[in-house]
Amino acid sequence: MSQILDHLPAFWVVALITAGINAIITMGVYFSNSAGALSAAHAAIAGMGAYTGAVLTTNFDWPFPVAILAGALVGFAIGVLLSLATLRMNELVAGLTTLAFGETMVIIAFNLDYIGGANGFIGIPLETTCNVVYLLLALVVFIAWRFDRSRLGYAARACRDNVHAAAVMGINTAWVKTVVFALGGSIAGVGGVLRAHYVLVQSPDDMGFFFSVNYLIFWVFGGSYTLWGPVFGALFLTILPEFLRFSLYDRFIIYGVILTAIVIVRLQGVITRVPLGRRPALFEALARLRGRGPQTVPASSLGGPQSGR
């Protein structure tokens, strides 16, 4: 990996690291939302994990891996809290609760002088490297892959499709939703610690609604509920503005147009589990090679639309 990086100009390394961190946090969104929740607080969760990890390394000289673990723990705890609070709410209202939570955290952080207040927490040591980020990203993707095929993953998907039917089937929906949300929270916390130790400043603004919406955009754009969707969304949308630097003034206008156009054209997200009715030709070919014929997939198990809406 390092040899590849040496050939890349340094600022692309910055873009890659930023994209990788965004991908990790977006995977956190993926986990949290896989049981049907809608989280608009992931920037705040990441931020709180970041503050925790940063305080540990800067003020107490604890080693970096411990800080990462601490960030994960804090993320987990907040995830549990949020999930319990939004258990009985429908998706939209839950999402708004998380939004309000995130903003409240920003205001609290603004007023806490120990973590720097409005100035932000500065002086964080540089620990994050490209290797660390992508190693952790690979780990997270691996966990997601195992999760998708695990009983917990199936239970989560059942909860997402129809929470009542899942309960009838014997799944402890409250427990599944909480664990899954908390898992997403811990991953976001890890991402936050990585970011804090890269940008070296952690400020309350970075936890706000605007950034959480960004992660949601990455998630939906890439293809919600698919494994690679969130990763692709984060990588693509983070690196796109860098490619657009040839247009100094109009960069973001072009970015906005591309974003909107792609969302309209690919409503399910760029990467989909099964595109609107049929499996992609490649998968069909592979399935035929393996001896299984083309299958029709019932519409309700498609990623994206909720039960009938």
Binding site: I107, G256, P305
Partner: protein, 301 residues
């Protein structure tokens, strides 16, 4: 006591503008289940149109008589409302219609892309600095038993009230209003009854955008400035108003908008100005815990 009443008046005035923008959000959400993130930017466009018209006409409000000033204000309002209405219709056709009905986040994200384009477009065209909008209504302060109110503040409140009354009339007393309510409650049944859902959707976005444009003009003239990012915080708070009120009754949204303005003024004045923005979110959290469908009920999502 006088200070308290002054704070109340301040709060009501700002609350009326929250209400107008919140109504737009509420309309689009209840009728089409769409969260239009570009709505605050339409509000910003309204303010900039006012800037273009007022500086283009090169008239100075101070020199005009009351009647001429009001006439000019109505003209500016009219032009801005037409412009933002067009923007809204284009938005509906190109962005909202293809994305509505699928997943609740898809139009949210598509419109957020549009909002990025609008914000940066405004910055590109008009520059990153806020631009000055000369006054249209001659500035005159009325003192009513120690409480100070300016002519522009009164105009803003009046505009907001007129708009809200017009909307209420539309929703409750016209055919299309009834169709709109039908689509909001049960879109399939409404379609089965012969309502042209697409047309209702277009009308709704158009009306919401027109209202946002009017609010933009009012605020632009009230503060004498327009800036590319003026929609952000305002939009967020209006959005919260809509959520707190529930989207069943538009009167609820109006009331909550005013309430938010009032509570913000009281908290800022008597507790701490640091907490001003926290009020909206605290209110939201409280309502979401105790009455998730909004204070006055919502249609099923």
């Amino acid at each position: 006591m006088e200070q308290f009443v002054q704070q109340l008046v301040n709060g009501l005035m700002i609350g009326s503008t929250y209400a107008v923008v919140a109504l737009g959000f509420g309309l689009m959400f209840s009728v089409m289940r769409v969260v239009n993130l570009a709505h605050p930017e339409v509000f910003m466009v309204g303010a900039y149109v006012a800037f273009v018209v007022v500086t283009g006409l090169n008239v100075h409000g101070q020199g005009l008589g009351m009647l001429a000033a009001v006439g000019l204000f109505v003209v500016v309002l009219g032009v801005a409302m037409v412009a933002t209405g067009v923007v809204g219709l284009i938005l509906e056709r190109l962005v909202i219609r293809p994305t509505r009905g699928t997943y609740i986040l898809t139009p949210f994200i598509a419109t957020s892309g549009v909002s990025i384009v609008l914000q940066n477009g405004a910055q590109r065209i008009f520059g990153p600095d806020p631009v000055r909008i000369p006054s249209v209504i001659p500035a005159h302060t009325f003192a009513i038993s120690g409480v100070l109110v300016t002519s522009m503040q009164l105009t803003t409140v009046l505009t907001a009230v007129v708009i809200m009354l017009a909307l209420r009339y539309y929703v409750h007393h016209t055919r299309w209003g009834r169709a709109t309510r039908a689509v909001a409650e049960k879109p399939d049944v409404a379609a089965a009854c012969g309502v042209n859902v697409n047309l209702v959707s277009q009308l709704t976005v158009g009306i919401a955008s027109v209202m946002a444009g009017a609010a933009g003009v009012a605020l632009g003239l009230l503060y004498n400035s327009a800036a590319p990012f003026m929609g952000l915080l305002f939009g967020l708070k209006s959005f919260i108003c809509m959520l707190v009120a529930g989207n069943r009754h538009i009167e609820a949204i109006m009331a909550v908008g005013l309430l938010l303005g009032l509570v913000e003024a009281i908290v800022t004045g008597y507790i701490s100005s640091n907490l001003r923005d926290a009020v909206a979110f605290a209110l939201l959290l409280a309502v979401l815990f105790f009455r998730p469908q909004g204070l006055f009920g919502s249609y099923d999502v």
